[in-house]
Symmetry: C2
């Protein structure tokens, strides 16, 4: 198979004619396919049905005797904090169990920083002028939406196979006191699938921010979401921070949205002991406590962090074939034609397809026209603007395998057509 980049004008024209026919045929099937959002498939959700139907009498009191049906325990019940501490390599004192949406915890953390500040006596971010966040790109659209909502200026930082460009991160963070935060998905990153290298994590821990109220938003959404035999290694950032005394700089987030139920799981905020105390004081004004029964449900269901890891092996068995399907098709259809690249993820929920510059929107539009919904081109970038219009986020988990196979096949045809158009193959 020849790379499109090496084709003559005539070859391109012939290829364009052939791919156009192929696209037309696929379009005529009038499919209704969706690879747009990182949602678990119902079969994955079935794995957690043991969360429901537990003996009610086991859901009343904690080990230390607190009635979880009543008010209180803002930080969560001890055994649940311990479970997540074990998963994250931390201690109970570092853990706040907060509702069921880690996105909400991040949003709230930003809101409180804007209105109230991040440590006792600190000036609220909102009183310091035009504040900024660093945004490794491509990244998670909902992170960027929070910044956009509150008028926080976003600065793109390029991602490589080892994580964000740390020279740029360091330069911005250490020179500009208006840079208040950075969004990170350090493991099986959304959408690139990259796990930050030890050097990257250490470089984060070693930052000496110009702002004393700078915070790293460490969204460890995919901490136990490997689907290969070997899990990617992510250095524990709090361990790295110890060396530099920088533990207060990090807010870590995780959730069970893609472990148990996306619609009824648990979310967690992990931080230094000082930050936890300060945050609980602030959070105590908003609520008396989160759902503690659901915390006990999860504790009884998993029993231990090892239980979570075993559960995730079952998830992996369902998810990996879908990634294989996508990656195999891309390798076969796109790679030899030289019109796209991607990193092969070992976990997480996405593949980030990088096509030729200027082709992403067109490819998404072609897919849509033929009945396949994709995440909008640009979505993984601040303000929805991909400067090169080249990245498309592929989310393989939700469709069943036959639909997925049809979807990725269609995607490849659309990507080829968009590439050919860009290369001037069209008449």
């Amino acid at each position: 198979m020849k790379s499109y980049l090496d084709m003559t004008k005539e070859e391109l024209a012939a290829e364009y004619a052939a791919v156009s026919r192929e696209y037309k045929d696929l379009k005529s099937i009038k499919r209704s396919l969706d690879m747009s959002r990182g949602k678990p498939n119902p079969v994955q959700l079935d794995l957690s049905m043991g969360l429901l139907g537990q003996d009610p009498s086991a859901l009343i009191v904690t080990r230390k005797g607190t009635d979880v049906r009543n008010y209180g325990e803002l930080a969560g019940v001890d055994e649940c904090k311990q479970l997540f501490a074990d998963i994250l390599g931390l201690e109970q004192k570092n853990i706040i169990m907060g509702g069921q949406s880690s996105l909400n915890l991040m949003y709230d953390a930003v809101v409180r920083a804007i209105l109230l500040g991040v440590y006792k006596g600190s000036r609220p971010w909102g009183q310091q002028g035009q504040i900024k966040f660093l945004c490794p790109v491509p990244g998670y659209d909902r992170h960027f939406a929070i910044c956009q909502e509150f008028g926080i200026e976003m600065i793109n930082i390029p991602m490589s196979a080892t994580g964000p460009d740390m020279d740029q991160v360091k330069r911005y963070v250490e020179s500009d006191p208006l840079v208040k935060g950075v969004w990170c998905v350090p493991k099986y990153s959304n959408p690139t699938g990259v796990t930050y290298s030890d050097d990257t994590v250490r470089a984060f821990a070693a930052l000496k921010p110009a702002a004393d109220d700078f915070r790293i938003f460490w969204d460890n959404a995919y901490v136990v979401h490997g689907f290969e035999e070997e899990d990617d290694r992510l250095l524990n950032i709090f361990d790295a921070c110890k060396e530099y005394g920088s533990e207060d700089m990090v807010y870590e987030f995780a959730s069970t949205s893609k472990i148990t139920f996306s619609g009824a799981g648990l979310a967690v905020l992990a931080a230094s002991e000082g930050n936890v105390k300060f945050l609980l004081r602030q959070m105590g004004v908003a609520t008396i406590g989160y759902d503690k029964i659901n915390q006990l449900r999860h504790v009884h269901f998993f029993k231990s962090a090892q239980g979570v890891r075993e559960h995730m092996k079952k998830q992996a068995a369902l998810v990996k074939p879908k990634f294989d399907c996508v990656l195999y098709t891309l390798a076969e259809q796109i790679a030899p034609r030289g019109i796209g690249k991607w990193i092969t993820p070992h976990g997480g929920y996405f593949v980030a397809f990088e096509g030729l510059p200027g082709t992403a929107s067109r490819c998404v539009a072609l897919c849509k026209e033929a009945g396949l919904v994709l995440t909008p081109a640009g979505a993984p970038f601040p303000y929805g603007k991909d400067p090169d219009d080249s990245v498309i986020r592929i989310a393989p988990t939700y469709p069943d395998i036959p639909s997925l196979a049809a979807a990725i096949q269609l995607f490849c045809v659309a990507a080829r057509l968009a590439a050919l158009e860009t290369l001037g193959a069209k008449g």
Copy 2:
């Protein structure tokens, strides 16, 4: 029994000596009693055990077929919205099911108003200078804590047996564009037990605020919490608003914290269709959705609004004897001595005891010394400052009846002692 106010100096001295002895005796028992917070007793929580242990297969899909285990349905599942719409006399389109803490919904509503504004194109409250909230007093301490947290100036509005002084409310709201909100607990008010009269509700609906972004925070926390045969009537404020076209002025809140589980219930925000749309747009940046399985649990458990009302009769059977105990003892020990008054509530969670001016802190301190924890004097007022130092919030639900009887007995002795001190009976 003679009123303390009619006693001679000698009579007061004799009474002081007698009550001091009584207090000393009670203190020597070294009790550990608590009437401080409006928490349900575990027996009340037992009434809702049917929420747990439901058939898991019934907790997967909504009537329209949405898998509640997955992401989505930010506003909540239809059947749950319908349940709360029926309770509040509204329609599904007016309802947002939001997590499990109505306090959190109120906090978030204030935060978003401060940072983002309350309708499309409105200026955020936070950009308009020193904004203010009206606070009917005595009121709910956690409402006032939200204002204090964000530096919102609080203005006391006196409560009467029909609700807040609406002349004052009207004057402030209609003359000052910096008055942005008012806290209301319109039924079985915390802590007075008052239910707003129809005239009061209509006067709220008829307000013509100087600020076009003024909002009434209508915390209908005790909407189905009557414990007498006859429930207090509260006019539906949205019905009243229809007459004035003022539906957008009201945010209504409720929760099942004191219906099912305080630690794992449901919270609801009700508003005009326009407000709901606007709020959902804002809330969608913070989260993809709240716990929908818990919504289905509640729907299956109650079946209908009538089911909720029948459930609340069981709650009433547990709660009423406790109020009877408190009210009977107060009527016997305090009323004839002329040193305190209160409104007899027909529902809710509190009795607001109004002692002689200058006695509340002393009474609370005396109780504490003798082993009874009360809500701090001043708590039901903005900034924790009761201008007359006369109001004490009594929360009868949590203790069992023997403890409660001992607690209110001790309370009466402490109240008498504090009153006698104030009246100069002490040496």
